[in-house]
């Protein structure tokens, strides 16, 4: 039996159930699907590797990833993903598929994934939050959702430029939230939470939002770079040169760029985005619960500042 899904705007045809992906409503024949199967993963790449690390070996067209006692994974030409399980804990096996295998698929298809979360600030317009893990992307999105701005994507998205506008495609219809975030919001109920790994005491849960997920591309109204810095909330507009630098540091698996020979693609993608996308840097104090205040300030200083004409 095959399952049909959509992720990052790509059709995914899988032998196994991938519950974190969005089921496809129709088959898009114009794009070659990503075929996901189970089987034996090759011991080495067909061509010489350009990067070799303890778990990852890759070049421009192939990616091998091995997590001891969990699984081995092989991704080729952005079209083929083979998973060889080494245990029967599928929650854990698929965590690495959703993160690394899909990121490898995107790079191999000349698409750069970004480390962003985002919310809708108007119909068909989203505001994105870029930051490294554990800086508060998801929490910021949830705090804005409390104020009526629906979540668009959590943790990753791909960005493209078309006709002078920047568009984003969301990753998966799943929010991953720390307990500390769940406790301070009312949008996601405790009954909806899903355990992410069975064998560890993890204060982080998955929440599915398949019923309101937008798989089509959506125009990006702006990007906010989140930082933990200083003693109070400060939001400043960012010029294109700094935006280029900040966006570069928020490429998902950005350290793969050289080994996958995507430096030119990275430059083209970033240069295209920063020239048209308004950007801000928002700083909040480290370790202090200021997310609600941050959401208020973002609404006042960023969302309200994007004029009605820009949003309609």
């Amino acid at each position: 039996m095959n399952y049909y899904y959509s992720a990052f705007g790509l059709p995914v045809l899988a032998e196994l159930e991938l519950t974190a992906l969005m089921p496809a409503t129709h088959r898009d024949e114009s794009i070659t699907p990503v075929r996901v199967s189970m089987g034996e993963v090759p011991g080495k790449l067909e061509n010489p590797p350009l990067e070799s690390k303890p778990f990852s070996v890759f070049n421009e067209h192939e990616f091998l990833y091995s997590v001891p006692e969990v699984a081995r994974y092989y991704v080729r030409k952005g079209e083929t993903v083979i998973i060889q399980p080494l245990c029967d804990d599928w929650d854990t096996i698929l965590l690495f598929f959703y993160s690394n295998c899909m990121a490898a698929v995107l790079f191999q298809r000349d698409i750069i994934p970004f480390h962003v979360s985002g919310v809708f600030i108007a119909p068909g317009k989203v505001l994105l939050f870029a930051a490294p893990s554990r800086t508060g992307k998801s929490t910021t999105a949830v705090m804005l959702e409390e104020k009526g701005y629906a979540v668009f994507t959590d943790d990753t998205a791909v960005l493209t430029i078309e006709n002078g506008k920047c568009y984003a495609r969301a990753s998966y219809p799943v929010m991953r939230l720390w307990k500390s975030t769940v406790d301070q919001q009312t949008v996601w109920s405790d009954a909806e939470k899903r355990v992410l790994r069975n064998d560890i005491e993890l204060n982080k849960y998955g929440f599915h939002f398949h019923n309101r997920f937008e798989p089509e591309q959506v125009e990006v109204a702006g990007v906010v770079f989140l930082e933990e810095q200083g003693t109070e909330i400060v939001i400043d507009k960012v010029r294109p040169a700094l935006c280029m630098q900040l966006l570069g540091t928020n490429i998902y698996r950005g350290h793969w760029v050289a080994g996958m020979k995507k430096q030119a693609l990275q430059f083209r993608t970033l240069a295209g985005i920063v020239n048209i996308l308004p950007a801000w840097k928002a700083c909040r104090p480290k370790g202090v619960p200021t997310f609600q205040q941050m959401a208020d300030t973002l609404e006042k200083e960023v969302i309200a500042g994007l004029s009605v004409s820009e949003l309609c």
Partner: protein
């Protein structure tokens, strides 16, 4: 490459608030030949940080169980040592402990060249620690200095950029680094860094095999005087401090305990830590 050349890691080890950051600033000033930028020091992160593991292994460290974490930390630091071109100076606050799963040292020994262990009178450490964590001195004593189960953070995964760090009591921490590593450990007293800086910092530079002359060492000591670091923190902040509104470079004095600890607090600390306090001349 011979085995010695592969041993690229120098651990800058200490119980928290014992001069580790001060030494890293000195090392930065010495190797840069200029004033150190506190937020961009020339050392190579902290053992408990998630960033090294995440970038070497391409994964999100929040989803690891403790068995994976221990094994993956060893793999990460061994890889950094194998592929690095220079000595890696890694800060570490963990006590030197062994895995409950496989019995191996949690800190990888094969790529370790040596450790410098910074030790400071626990009666002064506790005052600095209380400021660092923003809690009363009694909390710092009970939760850390005399607590055999004392840790920074907890095993339960949380949205922190560091893993939990086993500390034990102050005495257990020092003893673990004194007795357990298979690589050389050189002990440096905080009080000596203050009282005889040239001799102490100079000797440390020699142990590290750094090619530094007397003038360079004196200049690096001058650039990293406590008051200068304190001023830098006030001017440009310090990302490593736990509480944004607190001061990392707080008072830096030795012997404050004589004025600020009660007889009961001193006795509590002594009772739990006397063997190592005697060993390092603090009792």
């Amino acid at each position: 490459m011979d085995a010695c050349e592969q041993k690229k890691i120098v651990w800058l080890a200490s119980y928290p608030k014992s001069g580790n950051t001060w030494f890293r600033a000195f090392l930065t000033a010495l190797t840069n030949g200029s004033e150190p930028d506190l937020n961009s020091m020339n050392t190579d992160g902290i053992f408990s940080g998630k960033s090294h593991l995440e970038s070497v292994l391409d994964l999100n460290a929040d989803y690891l169980n403790s068995r994976q974490l221990e094994s993956f930390q060893r793999i990460t630091f061994s890889h950094l040592a194998e592929t690095g071109k220079k000595t890696l100076f890694i800060k570490i606050h963990d006590a030197f402990t062994f895995s409950e799963t496989d019995g191996l040292a949690r800190i990888p020994e094969d790529p370790s060249r040596l450790a410098l262990y910074f030790v400071r009178n626990p009666l002064d450490v506790v005052l600095s620690l209380a400021n660092h964590i923003g809690r009363p001195v009694d909390t710092a004593i009970d939760r850390f200095i005399i607590n055999p189960a004392g840790t920074f953070l907890t095993k339960k995964a949380a949205p922190n950029n560091q893993f939990y760090q086993p500390l034990g009591t102050w005495s257990m921490h020092a003893e673990s680094w004194l007795n357990c590593p298979s690589f050389p450990v050189h002990f440096i007293r905080y009080e000596d860094m203050k009282e005889k800086p040239f001799e102490t910092f100079g000797n440390a530079a020699k142990i590290l095999g750094l090619d530094a002359g007397e003038e360079q060492i004196r200049r690096a000591i001058e650039e990293t005087q406590f008051e200068k670091l304190q001023k830098k923190e006030q001017e440009s902040g310090f990302r490593e401090k736990q509480i944004p509104s607190s001061t990392f470079f707080f008072k830096g004095q030795s012997g404050r305990w004589k004025e600020e600890l009660t007889a009961e607090q001193i006795e509590k600390i002594r009772k739990a830590n006397e063997p190592m306090m005697r060993r390092f001349g603090y009792w």
